[in-house]
Structure formats: structure tokens, C-alpha cells
Symmetry: none
Subunit: 401 residues, 2 copies
């Protein structure tokens, strides 16, 4: 793959506008009834018309056979090889609730748990306490004072929270406190990397203080921490290509992932229509738009084939509004497959559609996995798509003479 | 990609003959009138018949989305990853006028420029002096004597020339003298790499002497040097595979690029027919032929769709003469795309046709970008083609037992 250094040396300014529309988990599998995938079962006249004028292909989000999480799936689309660029669990949890992080922060995933009077774990999830309780207890934990350290605690959902330790000199490389079994005490945090001693001491102090503060709570009278990680110092997509990029996404996780690579969140409502409305509203303010549609994935995970089909059709009805902002490059794809028959993220390659006035149209009849198999983009790694997008946007100059 | 070390260990002698026919910039885009690319619009009965018996594919010359210059485009075809093997600007300029270089040479691109009495640049191109003047002044510069150094100066075109410093101990890593602006003096050459001090001293001395020699000339009374680079020490294609390779090309640039990898220039005339005549004339003298057709690219750059179509048709008429030399492997491809509608090199993948008696015929109807999309060679990096060629030529033995 071409390096960021090379790409940066080739990047050149242009007036072109790019829209990358990601239908989360859009790749599917055939249902038993008629052998059609979700994309094949959907009525998508607008996407089909666009497909006929576009170049198609299939992308492996991480590598062939590998099922991606949301983080790697999106890093790939953004042009970062997910095998090389990794986001720690703590950071992903913070990103997932869209908590802004700084370079000084060390993040961890937290679970409220239950311990007996001897300090042995009786429930690693504290009976999955309601989110409201989690919110109250997170506020309590945020009162913990550690000299020289800013402690930020945010509820996630049920027993899950995220903690950020903000201070100078905090390094990654900490062991986790969850023994992954009941009947054992939480483990002390150990520094497993040079330079992580200070962070380990702070984390242990936080756990000790949390134990005191929660002593009278039931059932959430202790915490477990894991996935200690720092905010990744990525070369921002926006710096690399000299673009201004906006993210339109209903779920905070995706705004957070996009922020990692330099995109600015755009206010949108809660529906698919709201998202396309937001695109129209701010179309002059950015060179690059990442639009994220969540519910294709949610219905896929639920095994709701028809629900996923309906979201695809809902998106299709909005395509004219996307075309109306006159993008120079349009990409429609997914971050991974979530076949409704499989009810989970899967390893299957993802359909990709790329339109620009400079694309070689494949003349496909529809935008489906099957049509994408023989498209002129070929079968490629998702992280290789971004240079192709920038090529079509005339934002890369010639390599060599 | 398989390494040269591995390939060298697999290479074995054979009596087979290979012809690689490169139509420069052959890849195209559909024209508005009928949606046909140049290859689709051309009448190519011979190429089509060959395509029906061949394996097809699409190649990315450098990487997806990257527009290659001629140097990287050809290195890829010759089996050298252009991202790994780079040719400096000075060397490319020397290669472009087919000046033989040695391992001791440091090359630079030169511009004749104009300076005022205070030594400030008034025109970075000296009013684009006629090539005849450039030739005379280049001869003048070649009279410069630097102890222990052979100085070779050759005119290129208008204000451009190339200079070679031939001596022991010259290393790359020099800053250029062109300040890229008028109203400033030429910059001194600085050594930016360890070991480059000697080369910097020589370059500065050359510039000082040039200033004296040119003092009475108008408007070309000074020089600017850039792109200092040494001849790349490539493992030659010919050594790697133990072949004797000849290059048939009308333009010196392509003979020079082929010489970089060990090919020997074959005398040919100026026309496409001359080139195929040369192939027939020397067909017994080489195992491998690289034939280069320039005008597909020239017409592409000019936006002359019909002109490009006619060159493709001209080549098609010569295909029987190619077949008549009984190659064991025939490849027809391009070094990059130059769509006439785009009027420039582009990033689009390049159609590839490979015939041998051992190929799996795809049964394609034609040799076009569209047919190549679904060919059995797949969609690959150009540098991966050479081992496939050598495989079909039975010039690679089994890997492992």
C-alpha cells in the first residue's frame, strides 16, 4: 500500500466535493425464500441508476476472512490499514460516547461489579444495573481526587462506564483488573511497558478510592478496569489531503471515529431523512462528507431481514437529495457485512460503488454484492479506497515523471 | 509480492520467446457520443482474436488511485515495484535523451536562466531559448574542467539540459539551486546527506564556472540545477531471469528506461510499422522483447480520441507480424491510462492481455477495459505481472518441494 508520506507529497488542492455514504453492515447473504440478499431484495431505483454510471467493486474491510468491529471497519474506509492502526478498547469506549480526548489522556473501560465482604467478585456486571444508576455512580467516581491528575468518568450503558486519566507522562501498557471469573478478587494494575509505572499507580489508586466510595452501594460496590489506552496520534485524513471534512452520523460512536481522523461533526437529527437534510444544509461548508447510516447494521444484528431492506429503501429514496448537492465523487459502501441471516458482523467483503465524472462505468444493472463482484474497482482492501477517491477528486498529482 | 531473491532462485533457462507490447497510455474512458472507450471504438480484429485465446486482467501501475509518470509506469511493467524503486529527476532527464550513465555518475536537470547584473533571477527559463541555442551553450558548458571529474552536458529541449558529473565518491542528497522564484539569486547546493559533501562542492564549482562562461550571453546567462540523482543500481531484469532482452522504441526515453533494467536497444525507424519490422528482423537475437508504441499516449494527451483510435488500429494491423515471430508468450498492455477525454495520464487501471499456449483463455469478445475487468488475471499490481509472464514462459521452477 502506498504510504501516507507518499500520499502527502502527491496531495494537491482542488475545488472538488466528495460524499462517502456508509450503510453500516450493508453487505448481506441470501435468504432462504428466494436466494436474495438484502440489497437484492430492496427496491432501489436510485442506487441502481447510480450504479449503472459507476465503477463497482468488493472491499475487505480488514483482510480476507476477518470480521471487523466498528472501529477497524471505519478506519479502513478512512484509509488507515486497520492491521497497522489500532484503537484501544478504552479509547473506543470513549469515542463511542463521543467524549473528546486529548493526547494526555489514558482511557479505560470500566464495569461496575459486585464483591463479597472478603473482596471476592460475585458478579462481574453488578446485575447489569440500570443506566440511571450507572450515571449516578459515575458522578460519584468523578469526585475522586488524585493529585496532578484530572479524572473524568462517563456512564456508557447499564454497568459500563469509561474513565479518562488526564495528566502528563501517562503511557500505555497496563494489565487489566478483571480476573474474568467470579470468586476471585480484582487484580492489581501492573505496568507491563517501560514508562507505564505512573499510570499503573494512578489506576490502582483510582480503584482503591472507588472501592471506598462504593462500599455502601448494592449491588455495584466495586469496579473493574480494562483496555487502558491512549488516544492514537493519527496523521489526520484532513491534514493528509488538505481537506475540510464533516461527519453526519446519528450515533456518537461514528462521530467519534470520524473525529479521530480530523472530521468535524455536523448537527443532524435522528432519522435518515434528517441526515440527508443536514448534508444539504452544510454542503458548502466542507470538501468531504462522511455520512453514516446505522440501522442497516442494527436490523442485521437483530436478524430482521425486512427491517434492513426497508432502511436500504429509505436511503435509496434520499439519493436524489445527495445528488442535488452536486458531489464530484460519490461513494456508497459499508464498513463491514452484517447479514440478517447471520445476525452478527461477518467477514464477507463489502459492496462498493464509486461514481465520478471520470469513473469507468461498469454498466451494472443494480447495486448489489453480485454486481460488485465483477466491477472495475476489483476486489481490494478497504484502506486502498481512499486514494482512489482522491484520484477521482483530482486531488492527487502524478507520481514520478 | 515475491522477492527478487526468491525469483532469482526459481529462474531457470528455457528456449521460450516473450514479446511485451506496451501501448503507452492505452487505457481510456468512454466518450460522450456512444459511451465507448478508445479500445472499444477501435476496429481491432487481430487483437480481439488474440484476446479470445488469452487471459485478461486489469493492472494498477503503481497503486490504486495513483497516476503514474512514464518512469514508474514502465518500472511496474518491468517487474519493479515503483513505490520501492525510484528514479531521480536528473537520471530520468538523462534517460529521456538516452545518454548512457555509469554507476559513478551523478545527474542533474539543468535550466538555462536569466539573471540581472546583481545576480538576481529575472527569468527561470531564459525566455525558453531555441533548442539550437541550448545545444550550443551545452557544448560551451562541457568545456568546464573540474579536476578528477568528467563533466558531460547534453541539451534536452529549449532551456532544458542535463549534466552528468562522473567521478568516484559522488553521493545523492543535494539541495537544488532553483529558488522557484524570480528576484532571488540561485541558491548554493548544500549536502543534505552524509557523504554528499564532495558532490555539493563539484556542483557549486560547476555553477560558478557556468556563470563565468555564460556572462556575455543573452538571455541565457546563468544555470539552475535540480533533481541531483545517481543511476539506480537495480538488479537487472536480464540478470534476474537470465534472459537477453531487446527494446524496440521510437522515443529515447523508453529505450533509456529499458536500458536501466538491462535491455539492449534495437534499431527501429520512426513508425509503428518500422517497429514491427525491427521485431521481425532481430527476432532470433533475443529471448525477450519490449516494444513501445508512443502515439497512443500522445494523442490521449492531446485529447485526440480519433487519433488514439487510429494508432490502436494501426497496431492491430501489425499483430500478424508479431504472431509470425512465434512468441511463446505475448503480452499487450499499457504503462498507464491516458484517456483522450481526460487529456492527461490518469489513475485508471490498465487492460492486460496475456497469451501463451499454457494460458487459460477467458474467451473474451474483445480486448477492452470492460472485458479485462472480469479476466482470469484479475485486478493486480503491474509489478506482479512479470513473474506471471516468466511462469508462462516456463522460466520459473517449482517453489518448495
Amino acid at each position: 500500500m502506498i504510504s501516507f508520506d507518499d500520499l502527502r507529497s502527491l496531495a494537491r488542492p482542488a475545488e472538488t466535493k466528495i460524499v462517502v455514504l456508509v450503510l453500516d453492515g450493508v453487505g448481506g447473504l441470501p435468504r432462504a425464500a428466494d436466494g436474495k440478499t438484502e440489497l437484492e431484495a430492496a427496491q432501489t431505483p436510485n442506487l441502481d441508476a447510480l450504479a449503472a454510471r459507476s465503477s463497482l467493486g468488493l472491499a475487505d474491510p480488514v483482510a480476507p476472512g476477518i470480521t471487523p468491529g466498528s472501529g477497524p471497519g471505519h478506519l479502513g474506509i478512512f484509509g488507515y490499514d486497520p492491521l497497522q492502526y489500532r484503537i484501544g478498547r478504552g479509547v473506543l469506549e470513549a469515542v463511542g460516547i463521543d467524549v473528546p480526548m486529548t493526547d494526555r489522556d489514558l482511557a479505560a473501560r470500566g464495569n461496575f461489579c459486585s464483591v463479597d465482604p472478603a473482596g471476592l467478585i460475585t458478579d462481574r456486571r453488578a446485575g447489569r444495573i440500570p443506566t440511571e444508576t450507572c450515571t449516578r455512580l459515575s458522578g460519584l467516581l468523578e469526585t475522586i481526587r488524585i493529585p496532578g491528575v484530572e479524572v473524568i468518568v462517563r456512564p456508557v450503558r447499564e454497568h459500563r462506564f469509561v474513565v479518562l486519566f488526564r495528566a502528563d507522562g501517562l503511557e500505555e501498557g497496563l494489565s487489566e483488573t478483571d480476573p474474568q471469573a467470579v470468586g476471585k478478587p480484582p487484580l492489581p494494575v501492573k505496568a507491563e511497558a517501560a514508562g507505564a509505572a505512573k499510570a499503573a499507580e494512578i489506576a490502582n489508586r483510582f480503584v482503591a478510592e472507588a472501592g471506598k466510595l462504593l462500599a455502601t452501594e448494592q449491588p455495584a460496590n466495586m469496579v473493574l478496569l480494562r483496555g487502558f489506552s491512549k488516544y492514537p496520534r493519527l496523521l489526520k485524513l484532513t491534514e493528509l489531503y488538505g481537506i475540510r471534512a464533516g461527519v453526519i452520523a446519528v450515533y456518537p460512536m461514528y462521530r467519534g471515529l470520524a473525529r479521530l481522523v480530523g472530521m468535524e461533526p455536523v448537527r443532524a437529527g435522528d432519522t435518515v431523512a434528517d441526515e440527508f437534510g443536514a448534508l444539504q444544509a452544510v454542503s458548502d461548508q466542507f470538501d468531504f462528507f462522511f455520512m453514516h447510516i446505522k440501522k442497516t447494521d442494527s436490523y442485521g444484528e437483530d436478524g430482521n431481514f425486512d427491517g434492513k431492506v426497508h432502511v436500504i429503501e429509505e436511503v435509496d429514496r434520499e439519493i436524489p437529495r445527495l445528488l442535488a448537492v452536486n458531489p464530484d465523487v460519490i461513494v456508497v459502501t459499508g464498513d463491514h457485512s452484517t447479514p440478517a441471516t447471520y445476525k452478527a458482523h461477518s467477514w464477507h467483503p463489502v459492496p462498493v460503488l464509486l461514481w465520478s465524472k471520470w469513473c469507468r462505468p461498469d454498466g451494472a444493472a443494480r447495486f448489489t454484492e453480485r454486481e460488485c463482484r465483477t466491477g472495475s474497482l476489483g476486489h481490494f482492501r478497504a484502506a486502498e479506497l481512499m486514494p482512489v477517491i482522491m484520484g477521482h477528486a483530482e486531488r492527487l498529482t502524478k507520481f514520478g515523471a
